[in-house]
Symmetry: C2
Subunit: 291 residues, 2 copies
Amino acid sequence: MTSPHGTTGAVVIDGKASAARVREEVARDVAALVAETGQRPGLATVLIGADPASEVYVRNKRTACRAAGMEDLHRYLPADVSQEVAEKVLDELAADDFVSGILLQLPLPEHLDRRALLDRIPAEKDVDGLTVQSAGLLALGRDGLRPCTPAGVLRLLDDHAIPLRGAEVVVVGRSELVGRPLAQLLTARDATVTLCHSRTADLAATCRRADVVVAAAGVPRLIGADAVRPGSVVIDVGIHREAGGLCGDVDFGPVAERAGHISPVPGGVGPMTIAMLLANTALAARRQFGG
Amino acid sequence: MTSPHGTTGAVVIDGKASAARVREEVARDVAALVAETGQRPGLATVLIGADPASEVYVRNKRTACRAAGMEDLHRYLPADVSQEVAEKVLDELAADDFVSGILLQLPLPEHLDRRALLDRIPAEKDVDGLTVQSAGLLALGRDGLRPCTPAGVLRLLDDHAIPLRGAEVVVVGRSELVGRPLAQLLTARDATVTLCHSRTADLAATCRRADVVVAAAGVPRLIGADAVRPGSVVIDVGIHREAGGLCGDVDFGPVAERAGHISPVPGGVGPMTIAMLLANTALAARRQFGG
């Protein structure tokens, strides 16, 4: 098959297209919710300080939120805000009926206790899926809001009709944000999941066993062609800024020659994260309004 | 090597001996805590109804608790207790400074909402490690009380100096009680973990890759000799009552011929569960008393 990149080899998974579909679905859902209940979902993004990358991310989230027809209930706090005041703001948002979802933009200024702040966010408004309560609901297979990036990976796989039931999936990287929750989501979808990390004895050999490899280790081009079985599916969660531009955890060129499907960087998993944040906010609102 | 069972083959892992060591450690820790703080740990076992197996389990837990020098703060509730009253009893125990740990014996009578009751137990007294909060703390790698059976499996492996760092471990069975939390505990110990289940395509082939296989599927003799690489470690969490006596998820005789280590049923993982419950209660008390 000829891929959009022009090489013989893998189908290149189009994250922008999938993300656009999710956003359209959310916009329709939001419109229906407003029609049914007279209430409009609201997303409170909380930005503390002036980290330039965080400013860009939050701006993109707010724009996407408004484009989906949701209220943009942004809160900015200065870099020197005290833990106490930051907690009070989160408590206020937790109690506010106009707020369906709360997103605390990370990283935080160093003097703040990240975990203590995250844990002020009630599970039903935790649209990033990062609190202890949300992690516990996922671990126990109960209803809850799932972390956005792992949820985006699943959606990409589903949009390309990749079978997961009984499939061998290798997840590379055991982070709280991606690897660990993704392994659990995939297990719940009946995949046989192996979770690899920096201590894994033979990473390439382990990955070669897989029908699907998800690279989320945070190491540029960690996954080479020797780690990929011909025809398998490779999803790249990594994103690294280098002299030549952006790259992922996968060595795209050689891997695309062997894989059956591959997600590029940029334009693969990246666009899904905000899309799934919107989907989580709409879901939280539906439960909140009883719609 | 000649095993205690007299066959050439595996070293048979002695769960009774490991459990006895854990109990002795707990008894020493409790004595030290009483000496340091003047307070004595207390375990509240809550038994609802008259399930004969549950009565035996609770009696054994209470006996072990007293033998370790802890207060036995047992509560019995009749089988027809209302959800409301059961929740009130748990709330009372949660607020009681004499109670270090709360164990709600499962299964419950059918009219009761198990999850709603478990979630009344605060994480710091959740000595069974089964609440959403405890599951979330485990998933995020934060301090907390871990489920007893998975913790017992780890202790057995440690007592036999089985290396976990970089080891390939296959866990068979994805239950909330054992398989899922055990996979996470093993990942935290730097093992490369594969979590298998009823949808796994080729269970025997997957298990043969492992340095350590933990069978926790709840299927008698599921793991045969064809699933075991010579010299590997096999831990059996299953327990099934059959005409000929007890058996596990592992076909003991043939597997013992190939494995390097094997845990028997009974006398393997079983005795560890109560021992780890005591260890959790002592740990909860130490945090409670600030000792």
